[in-house]
């Protein structure tokens, strides 16, 4: 019994450690900006201040930035394009590597594998130069396409495909299924749970990008909501705290909702995929 009591106490502390800061920005968003700036931030939300969400969602941009719905839309498009793009590209390349023999198959595989060791952060300048040579700076394609290559997703799909029994494929071929039919009718349904898990991981990855958009998009019309918030708190004396906190709350909701709604697949896929 004593152990149970201790477990509840520790877990409640952990839960509060995460909920408290988020509750604070929600509560803060409903309070007056100048009283927050005076140091009167309180944990009790003012219900009358909920109007801030209407202002933020319908009004023009805060501090001359792009409007908030526009930033949310860019974030959503970027996250979806990256998630679906990575899944499609990785699925196809893993399929080729696992179910075909072709010259330089392993060279192709190891080249893809190499990208694990070359995150954007280590090749900032040369990547920027390639982007500008290709005319991809300040374009939606530039924001998404280079992030679509994925070693992790390819490795995961290859692992899943290698576990598909040979008998299944023999049976499919006996029934006259070609490579395309086999992929669509058998492999994709078989790996549906993995696709769902990857979707969560990649959606969160895409939504949360910060350095990449900062690097390749200076046009405010391409600001994601994460980039936008950091820009809003830049000049502190002018920060409209209530609006910043409202936008931060809105920016948190979509990725958290995706994780919570698809929690079961996500946890399984994350822990199995990374090993």
């Amino acid at each position: 019994m004593r152990a149970n009591w201790l477990a509840h106490a520790v877990l409640c502390c952990g839960v509060l450690l995460f909920l408290l800061p988020v509750w604070l920005i929600f509560a803060g968003s409903t309070q007056l900006s100048h009283s927050i700036a005076r140091g009167e931030l309180s944990l009790l939300p003012h219900l009358s201040g909920l109007d801030v969400y209407r202002r933020v969602l319908l009004g023009p941009g805060v501090n001359g930035e792009a409007s908030v719905p526009h930033m949310l839309m860019i974030s959503a498009c970027m996250a979806l394009a990256i998630a679906f793009g990575k899944i499609a590209v990785s699925l196809l390349s893993a399929y080729a590597v696992a179910f075909f023999r072709f010259p330089f198959r392993m060279v192709a595989f190891w080249t893809i594998f190499l990208t694990l060791m070359l995150p954007v952060e280590v090749r900032i300048v040369p990547t920027y130069l390639v982007m500008s040579d290709l005319g991809l700076i300040n374009s939606f394609g530039g924001l998404t396409v280079p992030l679509i290559a994925s070693a992790t997703a390819t490795l995961l799909f290859r692992q899943v495909f290698l576990a598909v029994p040979d008998e299944l494929m023999e049976a499919a071929r006996m029934d006259g299924a070609g490579p395309w039919r086999f992929l669509v009718d058998i492999l994709i349904p078989v790996s549906a749970a993995n696709i769902a898990a990857l979707f969560v991981i990649l959606f969160v990855y895409g939504w949360n990008q910060y350095l990449w958009p900062l690097l390749v998009a200076t046009d405010p019309r391409l600001d994601t909501v994460v980039v936008g918030i950091v820009r809003m708190i830049g000049v502190e004396s002018l920060t409209p705290w209530d609006e910043v906190m409202a936008v931060a709350t809105l920016a948190l909701l979509p990725p958290v909702a995706v994780v919570l709604l698809m929690q079961r697949w996500f946890v399984k896929g994350l822990t199995e995929g990374e090993k």
């Binding site: 152990a3 149970n4 477990a7 520790v10 877990l11 952990g14 839960v15 450690l17 995460f18 800061p21 920005i25 803060g28 927050i36 700036a37 005076r38 931030l41 590209v89 196809l92 390349s93 399929y95 080729a96 696992a98 179910f99 075909f100 072709f102 190499l114 060791m117 995150p119 952060e121 280590v122 090749r123 900032i124 300048v125 040369p126 130069l129 390639v130 280079p146 994925s150 390819t154 040979d166 490579p179 949360n208 910060y210 350095l211 900062l214 690097l215 980039v227 918030i229 950091v230 708190i233 906190m245 920016a251 958290v256 995706v258 994780v259 919570l260 929690q263 946890v267 990374e274 090993k275």
Partner: protein, 296 residues
């Protein structure tokens, strides 16, 4: 691990890998090679011509006390973030694995922070620790002023490093929690029950049974956390302190961005990129060697 049955044909598979391969070569391999090339060259002041300078950029880099200080700071930062987030996640995972009421709810409430962007974690923490408006920062400032001090992470380098470490570690706890919980759940119940028969409970059970069996997961997480702290915290640091005050919170990635993107020092920035690449390769190699050993 090879298949017995395969599809015939060469053109189709080549077309299937082509998109991935093209993206990889254009946006990863080529820039990486270009970084190596640029790191061995120096541009004239007008950026018109570049001359081969051998390892001069590297020599200048490692002769620069500011760079050495940044390397040391990054190492301290990474280990601080990794150990704090693992130490917080471990008890949470152990208790969430216990047979208690409402554990599914606890798990859900500890998993969602995975979705918080590193840059947003910084915004959340600013509102906690800001000396004038922060919920914790204000009382802390009052407390410190009793002793003649001040709480202001915008001016005090040590305090700045502390808040950046805490915000970065906070964001990573749920990732560690998910993996530690999965690690605990994969320990066969029979092992734990046998230990219970032998009278191992509570702390003793944790130390003698769970911790040794968790050690592969802990090692894996240590590497992942170090990589996270080194590379994914750019947003957190940029949003909270921009690497300041002075260079107190500047990590290697922040410095590469500053020197290469903001100041346009291509030679030095490329040399820094190559050093970072070697770091990632070493960490990844360590991880895969270890995983390889686990399998056999």
């Amino acid at each position: 691990m090879e298949r017995r049955t395969i599809f015939p044909g060469r053109l189709l598979p080549a077309a299937l890998v082509a998109p991935q391969l093209l993206l990889t070569v254009v946006f990863f391999v080529w820039p990486a090679l270009h970084a190596c090339w640029m790191s061995l060259h120096s541009e004239d002041p007008f950026g018109l011509a570049s001359v081969f300078v051998g390892f001069d950029n590297y020599a200048a880099l490692f002769g620069d006390p500011l760079y050495i200080a940044t390397v040391a700071r990054t190492i301290v930062f990474c280990f601080a973030v990794a150990s704090i987030s693992m130490l917080v996640a471990l008890p949470l995972a152990v208790f969430a694995d216990a047979d208690i009421r409402g554990r599914a709810v606890y798990r859900t409430l500890l998993i969602w922070p995975y979705a918080v962007a590193p840059a947003l974690a910084a915004v959340l923490w600013i509102l906690l620790v800001h000396p004038q408006i922060g919920l914790l920062g204000r009382p802390l400032d009052r407390l410190l002023s009793l002793a003649g001090g001040h709480w202001d992470y915008k001016l005090n380098g040590g305090q700045a490093l502390l808040v950046v470490v805490l915000a970065s570690a906070w964001k990573q706890v749920s990732y560690n929690f998910i993996f530690l919980l999965a690690g605990l759940q994969s320990i066969p119940r029979a092992v734990i029950e046998a230990a219970q028969v032998d009278g191992a409970r509570g702390w003793r059970r944790f130390r003698t049974i769970l911790l040794p069996l968790l050690s592969p997961t802990l090692f894996f997480l240590l590497i992942v956390n170090l990589v996270y702290a080194a590379f994914d915290t750019f947003g957190t640091i940029q949003a909270m302190t921009q690497g300041g005050p002075a260079q107190a919170t500047q990590t290697l990635v922040v410095k590469v961005f500053r020197d290469g993107h903001d100041n346009g020092d291509l030679g030095s920035s490329s040399a820094q990129s190559v050093v970072l690449m070697l770091g990632v390769i070493a960490l990844t190699a360590a991880q895969f060697r270890f995983l390889g050993r686990q399998r056999h």
